[in-house]
């Protein structure tokens, strides 16, 4: 080993910066989409009615599919999911030749072609990680919502508030405070897991390291560099979560 060759890093610094920005961009979009999707799945997972036809509709058409979904996405590697999404799911919908969106006239052939060539890997990465983290986040939401004392739901319903209003104004604000730490962990996982998308050609941090190591046949400098960048990103994210916890902790729940 001949020491750390800084000139490699400085020569490729634009690539690393662009890669870091791509990683950040992916993380932000995936955290927002994944959390929303997870909330929806979590509510679906808990959907139930005591009697009437809704009981069966919710049980077999909502709750069960969500269970299968969550189990499948938690039970298979994210890397494989990214591959499946990139090479099967996305082409199925937006292939310039026979994609479903194109054949149904939702998208022009040119647009589909441009989308695939310009943003193909980005799109697949977002879709795959959103689908994957939604499965994890749904369980976080479910645990958070179920941890809220049933008396809160009863008190709000007794005032005449409907289920949806009660969820929005009473249950979710309290649940959200409790699930902030696991949601933060999930976001940190997304920062790191987005590196898997470099395998389908997403120009993120890991891709930058791969490019540089290919050009110089050296692994030590580029991979150590992106390790530090990943660490800085996740560390800043954990500080942000800590700050939000403090802000939301004002009223101090029971």
């Amino acid at each position: 080993m001949t020491g750390f060759r800084w000139e490699i890093i400085s020569e490729y610094s634009p690539l690393f910066i662009q890669g870091a920005l791509m990683t950040i961009k992916c993380t932000i979009i995936c955290v927002i989409l994944g959390t929303s999707w997870g909330l929806l799945l979590g509510l679906g997972r808990m959907a139930r009615a005591d009697k009437g036809p809704w009981k069966y509709v919710l049980h077999y058409a909502v709750q069960w599919p969500v269970r299968v979904y969550v189990s499948a996405f938690r039970g298979t590697p994210l890397f494989v999911q990214i591959m499946v999404v990139h090479f099967a799911l996305v082409p199925m919908f937006i292939n310039p030749r026979d994609g479903i969106f194109v054949t149904h006239g939702l998208m022009s052939v040119d647009f589909a072609r441009d989308l695939r060539t310009e943003y193909g890997a980005f799109l697949s990465c977002i879709v795959a990680i959103t689908l994957n983290s939604g499965a994890y986040v749904s369980e976080i939401f479910r645990a958070g919502i179920q941890s809220i004392d049933n008396g809160q739901m009863e008190a709000s319903r007794a005032l005449g508030m409907g289920w949806g209003k009660t969820m929005r104004k009473v249950i979710l604000p309290q649940a959200f405070r409790r699930i902030l730490p696991p949601l933060g962990n999930n976001s940190i996982a997304i920062v790191k897991d987005s590196s898997l998308a470099s395998a389908i050609g997403l120009a993120d941090l890991a891709y930058a390291a791969r490019t540089v190591s290919g050009a110089y046949a050296t692994y030590w400098e580029p991979y150590l560099t992106i390790s530090v960048i990943y660490w800085v990103l996740t560390f800043m994210l954990s500080l942000l979560v800590q700050y939000m916890e403090k802000r939301l902790g004002r009223s101090d729940s029971r």
């Binding site: 009437g52 009863e154 005449g160 508030m161 009223s251 101090d252």
Partner: protein, 240 residues
């Protein structure tokens, strides 16, 4: 105002309510007493459909509670409820607890809702706590806020589910005083309670429930001093 006929409720195999029938008139104050597990709380919770009746008829304020087609939210807007464990919303201040439902359901503007909240807090003697968080209040104060929260919807009936059972003994009085004031103002109240002294003083009628049916009912003077049913006698001899 409240009409209950042959009300039935089962939880799994246990038959909690076995045919309760009674009518409650406007401005009447009714105390429901009985041993724990007798079904008195379940009876109360059937009146605003927190529990769905399994059989019989329950009509409250003209709403048929037993009918699945009834809009329960509309029913509940007119029927307040006060819980044993207060159930204030801990992520909201006292004021926010009081204005949420009126603003969200009755379309009150924020200034109007605040005005109403201030009036109610003055009534329960807690105007100085308007910006406090619920967890910073004593149990008695929390329960008084909970009563004010129920009143903020201007209900015509209030249901009390053991409102003083979770309180330290020295805090019971302040809550009972507020309830007594409400009774004197003519509010229709149904109170599940273990406070026999309060029932005797405030109630127009006392209902004794045991084993899922009304064993005996009557004005407190009669029920407490000369109970006819041997179950009532046995129960009262233990608690009085």
């Amino acid at each position: 105002m409240i009409h209950v006929k042959d009300l039935q409720k089962q939880f799994g195999k246990s038959h909690v309510l076995r045919g309760i029938s009674c009518d409650i008139a406007p401005q009447e104050v009714v105390c429901v007493i009985g041993p724990s597990g007798s079904g008195k709380s379940t009876f109360l919770r059937c009146l605003n459909a927190l529990e769905r009746p399994d059989g019989g008829e329950v009509i409250v304020n003209g709403f048929a509670v037993h009918d699945p087609k009834t809009n329960l939210n509309n029913l509940r807007e007119g029927v307040g409820m006060v819980f044993q464990r207060f159930n204030l919303f801990p992520h909201m201040t006292v004021l926010e607890n009081l204005i949420m439902a009126p603003m969200s359901l009755k379309g009150l503007s924020k200034p109007d809702a605040i005005l109403r909240a201030e009036k109610l807090l003055k009534k329960v003697g807690l105007l100085d706590k308007i910006d406090a968080w619920p967890t910073s209040l004593s149990g008695g104060q929390q329960q008084r806020v909970a009563i004010a929260r129920a009143l903020a919807m201007e209900p015509s009936i209030i249901l009390f589910d053991e409102p003083t059972s979770a309180l330290d003994p020295e805090l019971v009085g302040e809550v009972l005083a507020v309830m007594k004031q409400l009774a004197q103002e003519g509010m229709t109240m149904i109170i599940v309670t273990h406070e026999m002294g309060f029932a005797r003083e405030v109630a127009d009628r006392v209902i004794f429930i045991d084993q899922g049916i009304i064993q005996e009912q009557g004005p407190p003077s009669q029920l407490f001093t000369a109970p006819e049913n041997p179950r009532t006698q046995a129960f009262l001899s233990k608690v009085l």
